[in-house]
Every structure is written in structure tokens, then in C-alpha cells.
Symmetry: C3
Subunit: 501 residues, 3 copies
């Protein structure tokens, strides 16, 4: 392992030497003062950099930290103009393809969901209690104070520069962070500073830093899966340091997140920083549909196979045709941003801005994002078949596809039979907390937590997650929703009958 590491480092070193020779020579004079002082005040940073590929290739502090001319986050520091917010624009100088691919991925829109957190900042003052596209009158305790270390730690804040040069909504390394230089994102959330280790970025804990918990437990599902099981058991013997684009089945016995979603894996497919490039389905909305333009726009509904639809209509005593199809589209974070945080929208969307066009997600991302769901699936299967037969891989994914159909039918049944009537008859108006009734929160958990677990568990071989934390929990919460409907109806009837308030 040590030898492989050494060899790899030498190769990288060589490549970087050629590439950065001129850069390095120009900045040499600036190394000593940075290092000298920071070795005293923050020795950990210096030590991390010394272990990095950057260090070995002569990429010095100032190569990344020299503030660009139009970057409001730049400030004078010991005679140099530097920035602490090293954005994708900066990384792009040497890694343009990675940044372009990132820009085509769904990662790039994570910040849009947190956009309106900006809405609460007027100048440097918090003036409201608003997050996530909700109006300023929305009654919630998910305030910016709490959301900043919660949601926005992953999704990203809107970094502003205060009058005195201090950074507002900082520190933050959310993957969809809005940077003062007009860019979006943060490379260092996965490539942790100041080592920027490719090995670390390939390990499951890195993705699992954000992809875990009740609303998207990919980390837990992966750890349960045979793939995760193998990496946990033997990963210490894998070769994690193969150069980018050269990692393959000869290096690892079982895949991590990066293998299936990013790596070329021995040339099976094009390697990419677009983590969405091989995803056939939308697994996060209320209902699921293929990642196609026509469904994304919400103009067309997505069908449930008749046999499955009819089965669940019968089980739940719903009229024929009730479960024919699910609604698609949205939420469209670009529209939300336009409405609730127009100044941020304007700063980042438009000609010459980060997003040239921002009507819908696929629209804004274009490129790879517009490929057909089947083409995306083909790429995934190409990775699988490096270690599995084609029939095994396709068979397993076909099982997962069928889970989507069942999910769509069951959750639509809950909605039509219980939740819609509760809302239509306004049965839950009287008893809310934090702006939500029991029924509201339950419905949210059914699709946003348990429903995603059911669907994601299905695709990543997390059997326990799929069943007990997913399908079973939806069934249990279906029984709760049924009882809430019964309770609220009876409560209303009794109050009317007895003249109680």
C-alpha cells in the first residue's frame, strides 16, 4: 500500500510540476511568510497542506487564496490581498472539468433550497424568521439561528460581506453555498481542506457527511448493504489513491458511493463530478418519476402500472382509477428563489451569471442532465457489470424499479383516502404547533422520510431500511393517518352535537 501511495504521489507530483511550474515560480516569494506565521497560529493547517498533493506539486497558499479582483470577500492581510472563501471559480483555474461537471449536477442546486435564508438578512441584521422559501409570516421555530448549523451546514448559506469586511453567514462549507464572487458551491466540503485527499473523497464517510439521517439515509443504507459491509471489513487493504480516472475493479473489491456515481471504474464509463449523471429516477419528491424534462415541468402525469394500481385500489377500497397516475413536477427551487429571494435570484441567474437560465432544474443544468433516464441507467449498469453479470445487475435494478410503482400507489392511496379529506374539510385547523398539525407532520414524514427510505433502500440493497424503516413505517403511519381522520371527524361531530368549543 505504501509503495502504491508513493508511486501515485510521484506521478501526481510530476504532472503538477509541469502544469504549475510558472505559477509556483511567480509565488515563491510568498510562501515563507504564510507558512512561517501560520505554523505558529494554526499549525494544523500547515501540516495538512504539507501532506497534500498541492504541496508536493508546489501549489502554494497564495495560488488559491489570492483574492480575485472582483471578489468582494478579498481583504488586505500582511501585505497580500487574500480571501477565505475559495470558491469553485478559484478551483476552476486548475480543475475546469470537475467544476463544469459539478455545475451540471443536482449538487449545484442544493443552495437554492436555502436561498431564502438570505431573505432574513437586511444589511447585517436579522429581520425575520424565515427559511426555505417560506414567507416572513410563516410561523416556525426553524429559524435562521437553528437552521444555520442544521440545514444550511449541508445546503449552504448566502455568504455576504459586511461593511467592515467581515463575512456574514460564515463559516459555511455547504455544497450549494452562494459565494460573494457570484459562484455557487464549495469544493472543500468533499475535498476537505487542506489535504484535498482523493482517497478521502472516495470513502463513503465523505458523502455520508450530508447524505444520512431520516430524510436521505444513503449512508446508513450503504453501510447495511453488502457493498458497504465489504468496504467496512476489508477497505483498509484497498487501493484508494489511484489517480483520477484510473480507479477500477483491480483497486477495490466492493464499491463506495464514488464508484457507482462518479468513477469511470476501469474505463466502463466516463468518470464525472456530476453525481446525478447515472440516476434514472427522481427519488426525493412526494412521488417518483423518471428524470425526464416532460415530468420535471409537471405538465404530464406519470402512470402507475394498471395491475398495481388496481391491486391497491381494491386493498384500500378506493374507486377504480383513483391510483391511475401520480402528479409530477416541482418543487422548482428556481421559481421559489425568484419569488421569495428575488435579489439573490437576480445576482446568480441570468446571462453571464452562474446559471445562464433558471426556469427549471433540467433547464438550468442542461448538458448531461438532459440525457434520457435510460441512458443514465445504462451507465450505471456498465459500472455494475465490472463485477456482476448483466442479468444480475439488470435483475436487481428491475426489482428496485418495481418498488417505485408500489410506493407511488400506496402513498397516493394514503393521500387520497385520508390526508386530502382532512385538509379539504379543514379538520386540523384548530390544533397546530409551529404552523403544522399532527396530520401535516405525519404526511411530511410519510413521503419525505419513510417514503424516501423505502425507495432509496430499494436501490442500494439496504433490505432492512427498505422494509422496516421504509415500507413498514409507511404502513404504520397509514394506520395513524386513518385514525387521525376518524378522530378529527368525530371531534367535530361531537363538538357540534354537544355545543362544545
Amino acid at each position: 500500500m505504501k509503495k502504491v501511495l508513493l508511486l501515485t504521489q510521484m506521478i501526481i507530483f510530476g504532472l503538477f510540476l509541469i502544469f504549475t511550474a510558472s505559477v509556483a515560480s511567480a509565488k515563491d516569494a510568498t510562501v515563507a511568510p504564510c507558512i512561517e506565521c501560520h505554523n505558529e497560529v494554526s499549525p494544523g493547517i500547515v501540516k495538512q497542506w504539507q501532506e497534500s498533493g498541492h504541496s508536493k506539486a508546489g501549489v502554494l497558499c497564495y495560488a488559491c487564496h489570492e483574492a480575485k479582483e472582483n471578489d468582494p470577500s478579498g481583504f488586505e492581510h500582511e501585505g497580500y490581498k487574500v480571501t477565505a472563501v475559495v470558491s469553485p471559480n478559484y478551483c476552476s483555474s486548475c480543475h475546469p472539468r470537475a467544476v463544469k461537471e459539478f455545475k451540471e449536477s443536482m449538487h449545484d442546486e442544493a443552495g437554492l433550497f436555502s436561498l431564502s435564508a438570505y431573505g432574513v438578512v437586511e444589511g447585517e441584521e436579522v429581520v425575520g424568521n424565515v427559511t426555505f422559501g417560506q414567507t416572513k409570516n410563516y410561523k416556525t421555530h426553524f429559524s435562521r439561528e437553528s437552521a444555520e448549523g442544521g440545514c444550511l451546514d449541508c445546503h449552504g448559506t448566502v455568504i455576504k460581506v459586511g461593511k467592515d469586511g467581515t463575512l456574514i453567514n460564515w463559516p459555511n462549507v455547504g455544497i450549494g453555498r452562494f459565494n460573494p464572487d457570484g459562484s455557487v458551491g464549495s469544493c472543500s466540503v468533499c475535498h476537505t481542506r487542506h489535504v484535498f485527499s482523493v482517497a478521502q473523497a472516495r470513502k463513503p464517510e465523505t458523502c455520508g457527511n450530508c447524505h444520512l439521517g431520516p430524510d436521505h439515509p444513503q449512508r446508513e443504507i450503504y453501510e447495511e448493504s453488502k457493498h458497504g459491509n465489504l468496504v467496512a471489513a476489508n477497505g483498509e487493504d484497498y487501493n484508494w489513491t489511484a489517480p483520477a480516472g484510473q480507479w477500477g475493479p483491480e483497486d477495490v473489491e466492493a464499491p463506495t458511493c464514488a464508484v457507482c456515481h462518479m468513477s469511470g471504474f476501469g474505463g466502463a464509463v466516463k468518470s464525472t463530478h456530476n453525481v446525478s449523471a447515472r440516476l434514472k429516477w427522481e427519488l426525493e419528491p412526494v412521488f417518483s418519476w423518471p428524470t425526464e424534462q416532460k415530468y420535471q415541468a409537471g405538465k404530464e402525469k406519470y402512470p402507475i402500472p394498471p395491475k398495481i394500481a388496481q391491486r391497491y385500489e381494491k386493498i384500500h377500497n378506493l374507486p377504480a382509477g383513483s391510483l391511475k397516475e401520480v402528479p409530477t413536477g416541482g418543487p422548482n427551487p428556481f421559481a421559489t428563489a425568484k419569488k421569495f429571494a428575488p435579489d439573490v435570484y437576480k445576482a446568480y441567474v441570468g446571462p453571464g451569471k452562474w446559471w445562464e437560465k433558471g426556469e427549471t432544474r433540467l433547464d438550468a443544468f442542461g448538458g448531461e442532465a438532459l440525457r434520457s433516464p435510460d441512458a443514465k441507467r445504462e451507465d450505471m449498469v456498465a459500472v455494475c457489470t465490472q463485477c456482476h453479470s448483466e442479468s444480475w445487475a439488470s435483475g436487481d435494478l428491475a426489482k428496485s424499479d418495481a418498488v417505485i410503482d408500489v410506493y407511488n400507489a400506496v402513498v397516493l392511496a394514503i393521500k387520497k383516502k385520508y390526508y386530502d379529506p382532512i385538509k379539504k374539510e379543514k379538520l386540523d385547523e384548530g390544533v397546530k404547533f409551529n404552523g403544522k398539525s399532527e396530520a401535516d407532520n405525519l404526511w411530511h414524514e410519510i413521503w419525505h422520510h419513510e417514503g424516501r427510505i423505502w425507495r432509496m433502500g430499494g436501490f442500494m440493497q439496504g433490505q432492512d431500511w427498505q422494509h422496516w424503516e421504509g415500507a413498514y413505517e409507511v404502513a404504520d403511519d397509514g394506520s395513524h393517518m386513518a385514525d387521525i381522520y376518524e378522530k378529527l371527524k368525530l371531534r367535530k361531530a361531537v363538538k357540534e352535537k354537544l355545543g362544545l368549543k
Copy 2:
């Protein structure tokens, strides 16, 4: 570590060379074509095999994949008759003792719980919505589409061969899989193909691939325990590759699942693939009793110690004698299979079949399974005392035994006081979802989730799991069950009084 590994590999290599010399020579001609082609289409498999003990011992592809004559899964492939379903019958050719021990373990019956999943397949068509021994009229969304990637991924499917030779209910590596050749099980679920690493099989993640989640979180409990804590902290320095039967306290500082439940651990006891061989208690049914024939049959009840019974009768205001004893027996998966999936039952149970006799579990397994609970406990203590004093080990297990008595009393109290009356008075008939009422699901979670956690946490030093996820949750759900009973009674009375529906 590298040296130990090398030495071990050399020893294994030597042993295998002697054993497999003739086999290898006969098949040599078949290596080249398998490897040559699969190195192109699925290089990961080839690389895994190259790292395996099999490879080093000259055990080539065809030694395992040559279809036996009477195996319907065999098919012509490039001039050879091969199978993808390498069942325990195949592994038994070289590893007969391991397969025999597996057959005597509870692992071997995992598939019986999923047997009726077969019931939904007529020819190659799904015709119903039935799983787990439930009738075809049972209203549930735990359909085969969802169950296959959920429950059956661990428990095993019934693999069928379609008219065109394609495998149905495939892929699957569930430990209780029904194979087309008349055998049950899948060795590769723990000995992951194609490395078949003994080191991996000894690591906790391997067992934790299935033994986790709300209904049997042995993985989480172990990870919490001091044992799991030590393995996580220092396991990378352990010797994981000692030859089978020679692993002991000189190799590992703390035990994994395999140490306590399978290993001879330095000669303390006989090593075994019967993972149930050292288990004194049934911890999975509604109530717990010793693993004895008389309780298994359900003809005799298991007593609760009078002091404990009386304490909880008093706490819960139950009549004296209410908590004298718990019912035993069942569920008997053999009886379930006989009733709901008779053709599968006939195919696998009977003279000359996989199970010679299948009236009850202990009956079917015989051998080691019939040893007394105390003899099983003795073996466990023999392992413990490799690192602990006898008084420490016995003291700790005595504490755990006492947890069972408290559990039995408390959960019986909930049943007698609340759940039985709800069902007897049919209070929950009106509001069900997926065939179950709130009360049904709650009762299920009390014994099947929280109750198991309470009991298993007690035996594996998972203090937090035992208390907060186990005992506390049972108490909390007891309060919910009490309230549901009150709610349903009142609901009924009010409706009657006011003439509401």
C-alpha cells in the same frame, strides 16, 4: 500482519493443493476460456477470485460452477454446462462439515419465513399479493415487489427456473434461499464471492449485513458494547486470517460475533457453523423461554418467578396470578409452509429431501439443536472465560437472564390489560390501514422491535439499547396502548350515546 497473512495463505495453499490436485488437473483446460472472456466482461469477479484461497489452491471456476446433473438451473454456456446458483449442495463437496452445521442452525430456516412468497408465482406470473404465510386475501402493501428487496434479500426467495431457462426471483443470496437443486441456503451471503475471505466472515459487518434494524439490531448493540468498541478502535491490528479452528485469544483482543457464536476460540469449545449452538434462550418470539423441546412445541407454559410476577401484578393492578406464566411455542414455520405453500413444503421436506422431517424447528434440525439450554450456556461461558473470570462471565449472564423475567412479566401485563380487551371487544375494527389498526402495529412493535431490543441488549452489553431503545420504549408504548384503549372505549360509548356513525 503481512507475514502472518502470507504464512496463512501458504498453509492453506498447501492443504488445498493436496486436496484438490486431481480436481484441478481435470478442469485445467477450462480455466483459460472462463478467465479470458470474463476478464473482459466482468473483470471484478476475476480479480476477486485471484485474491481468494480458492485461486491459490487451484480451485477453478468450473469446480464450483459446473451444474450438477439434476440441477434445473444448469444451462449451456460456451460449451459448458454451468449454473449461477452455487448452492450449499455444491459447497458441501469440499466443506461437508460446515454445511452440516449450517443445516443444524436456525439460519437454515430463515427461508421458511418467506416461503409463501412463492405462493404468488404461478408459472412465471405474479398472481397475488401474498407474503409471509398470509392468505391471498390479506390486505397488505408488503407485496412481493417490495418484499423481494426488503425481507427476502436476507431471508431468501424461492428460486425457480422459467421455461426459457431464466431464473425467477433472482438475483438473491438470502441465507435461507430455496435453491432449484432441492437445497436450502446460500453460503456466499457471509463468504462473499468470489474472494470467500475468512477474515471478512469473522468481522462484525458481515453478520451485521442482516442482523440490524429495529427488529434485531444485534449489529448496533454490538457496536455499542465494549467488545464492539475495542474491535472498532484496534481491530486493524488483530490477526483475522488464522486458519479455521485455530483462531483464539492470542489473535484478537476482543470478540466479534464469530468469536462468541462460532469460533472454538483457542480450543475453549468446538468451533461450529451452527450459530444457534450456544444460545440458551428464544429471544425472538412474543415471549421468551429456554430453547427446549417442551417449550418449542407449545404444550407447556414457561413460568415467571413469583416475586417478579407479583411485583408487576401490583404495579399494573392486575388480579393475582395474572402474570404467573407466559405462553410458548410458535410460530412454527414448517406448519405455516405446509398450509400456505404446500408445493414448496413438499419439494423440500420429507425422506431424502433437505429436511427429513419438518414438524417443528428442533424436530427438523435435531443434533446440536436438541442439546439442553444449560449445555449451550456452558459453551458460551467457556468462550467468555478465555478473557474473563468464571464469576464475571456467569454474573453478567445471570443479570441478562433476569432481564428476560422482567420482560416477560411487563409485556404480558400490557397484553392482558390493554391489547387483549381491545381485540376481544373489537374496538379497533373500524379504522385499519393495510389490514392493521394502530393497536395492532403498536403491539407488534412492543414485542417484535422494542422487546427484542430490550432482551438482546441485555445479553450483548448494549446498555443504551437495552434501556432507551428497549425497556423505555416498551414503557412509552405501554402508555400509548393504555390511551388507545381509553380512546376506543370512549369513542364507542360516545357514538352510541349520540347516535353517530
Copy 3:
């Protein structure tokens, strides 16, 4: 790594040789018989000791296991007077500073919370069903039988010596264990016998052995954080064996629990075994306040910032001033012990006893515990700035401080608006289980589980835990509490109106 390990071991070896030369020589005669016999009956222990620093320094069995004269746990064993309960008093002979620092930490009072478990033992007989300072009439199934393997496994039991010399409430290594020799604590819970590895004690799993689960999931929060993510990904390459007091940023890329809470980390601050020394806040009580004497005593209330108080008064329609401040103080385990387990209190508190004085926690611990919250925070920031800029570290902690204010306001609102009225109007008297109503358990979970997660998640960069398992769950349970209040009021009104019981 091997070289570093070797060098470190040599240094430790040298130091110990000088220190223990006389000790070792005096006991040499006793080695052979201990080892000889225990190598047969418990070889794991011997092997562990052989790998220990103790072994290398010539610290033999009897150096630790020779019973002190006044220790009732001592017994004759093969001609030697030994004890199995090697208490902090014993460790203190060679490690006096560590024991002193432990004594000043909150770890030292963990046993006080389990003190009354002693109350159930009269002589050697369990006579009641009492735990945790509750009266003997308290109706609960958290009996000693269950609590011993649950709560007390971490908190510690009261070890008693029976008439025949057998140890009662044993085995136990809870960190706040009451030892027969009059001391409190158990060093081996973190420094696992018999290796006593500094590397293991520095790894996150060690602290996570107790600090996990719904009521204090520091382990899970850490594993989610970027810090935990890095250690999981690359920790195998860190230097874990630097001598005590010499561990620093050159050894590890990211911190474990021990780095932030104990290590001097490259001289940034004084290293300590007082794990509370850098904690500004009380995060475990119902509400949070700074770790100051005046709040601990409960005589002064802690304010909520007016802007935040007013925001939540408005959101929850509470009268102005409702959320002005939170109550402080308690629970005071010394007072609880005095009342419910007076004999244990007397045995351990008083002049010449383990605690000289035991009116309140800070009072009893004195020393470092009495430093101002700001001084504690300064120490923490000093550790952070070994790898982060001061503005980054302070900015991040300021975000966390703000979470406390929001938490205090939101949970006080739930209490004032729903839970207090339920209790005041005695609405939940009729339907209890295990001594608690649904509302009681819900309130308990709001502050004791979800509320701690919200607060702890905020401070340890566990974004998902902070939001989804913390803040969101409090919101959801707020909606449940609101509904319970509505339900119980209506239930009462309907019963009165209709003359139902």
C-alpha cells in the same frame, strides 16, 4: 507507523523502568504464579497484559491487584490478598493527577444518578423496585434487574461485599461506580483492561461506548460531523500513540472526542482528565444555562434574549413576557442521594470521604469546575485554532450559542402552553402506564432526548442530528402535545356532559 509505535513504546518503557523499578523488584516473585495459572484459565487477560505499557514497564499483576488493607473487597487467593475491584484509589498510586482531574469532572458524579439502586439491596436481598432516586412506591418496570445492564452499566452500581465475600451488583465498570474501598469511579471503562492502551482511549468509539443513543448521541453526532468523517476515512494513518501530553496537530488531521475535551493538543492548552473543563454550557437539563455557580444553585433564572423571546411569544400566541427567562438549577444528585439513599450518601460524602462536601455539583467538585464559562470556552477555542482561524472557530461557536437561545424559548413555550396546563388541570391522571401518561413521556422526550440532540448537534457540527432528530422532532412533538391537550380537555368535557366514566 510501526516505527513511531516502537519508539513511543521505548520511551514509555524507559520512563516506567525508572519509576517502577523498586515496585517491580519487590513483586517479581509473584509474577510467575499469576501468569502460569491464568495463562491456562484465562489466556486472553495474560495476552492483553503482555501487550500493555504496564507489562513493558514491569508493572505486574500484583502491583494493581494487591488489596489495600481497608478494602472490604480483598480476599485470599492462592496465598495472596487480592481484589477484583481495582478502583481509582489504586490507579492513583501511579497516576495521581489523572485521578484528581477525573474527580473534578462531571464523570465523577455519574454514579450519583444511580445511587438509589443501592436502596433496593438490604443485606444481599433485593427488596424493592427502586431506581434513580425514586421512592419505593414508584410504579415502574425500570427495575434493578433491567437497570443493571441498562443505565447502571454506564453510570455505575454500588458494589457491596456479601457475607461470604462475593461481590454484589457485580460485574460493573460504570464510570461513577461506588467502590467498596470508599472511592468512586472506574478507570478501566475507558482504559480497557488489560491493555490500557492510550490509543484506544483516544479513539471516538471509547467515549461512544456510553455517549450514544437518544438521550446523548454524541457518538452519532460526531460520526456525522466533518471531524468524525475525516477520522473514519483516514484515521488508520494517524499517530495514536504519542505519549500523554505530547499529542498534537502533527499527529492527527482531525480531532476525536479526546482532542477537544482532554488533550493539550500540541501545547495549546493544559491537557486534562476533567472532561468538563472546556464546557461553557449545561446541555443536559430541561433548559440550558452557562456552567456558573449562580445558575447551578437554581437561585437565579437565565434570560432569553428579548428579540428571540418576543418572536416565539408571537408565534405561539403567548402573553408578552412569557418567555423572558428559563428556570435553572437541579437536578442536584447530591440532594437526591441524601434523601433517598442516606447510607450511601454518608459513606461517600463528608470530611475524609471521596467528596469532602456535597451540597451541589460545582460545590463538591470545586477547582477547575468553578472556572467561569468564558474561561472554559477560551480553552476550547485554543484547541480549535490549532487548525482553524480564530474567526472561524468563534463564528462557529457563536452559531451554536444562538441555538441554545432558540431551544430555551421553544421548549419553554411548549411547557407553558400545553404541558403545564395538562398537569395543573390533572387531565392525564386517568390513563397512565408504568407511572407515566403519554403526556409525561412526551414531555420527557422533548427535553431529554430531542432537546439534547438539538443542542448537542449544534455544538458538534452534526447538522442532520441538530435539525431532523432535534429541532424537527421538537416541532413534531409540539404538535402532538397540542393535540393531547385538546384531546384530554375534550375527553373530560364529553364525559361530564354525557355522564360517562
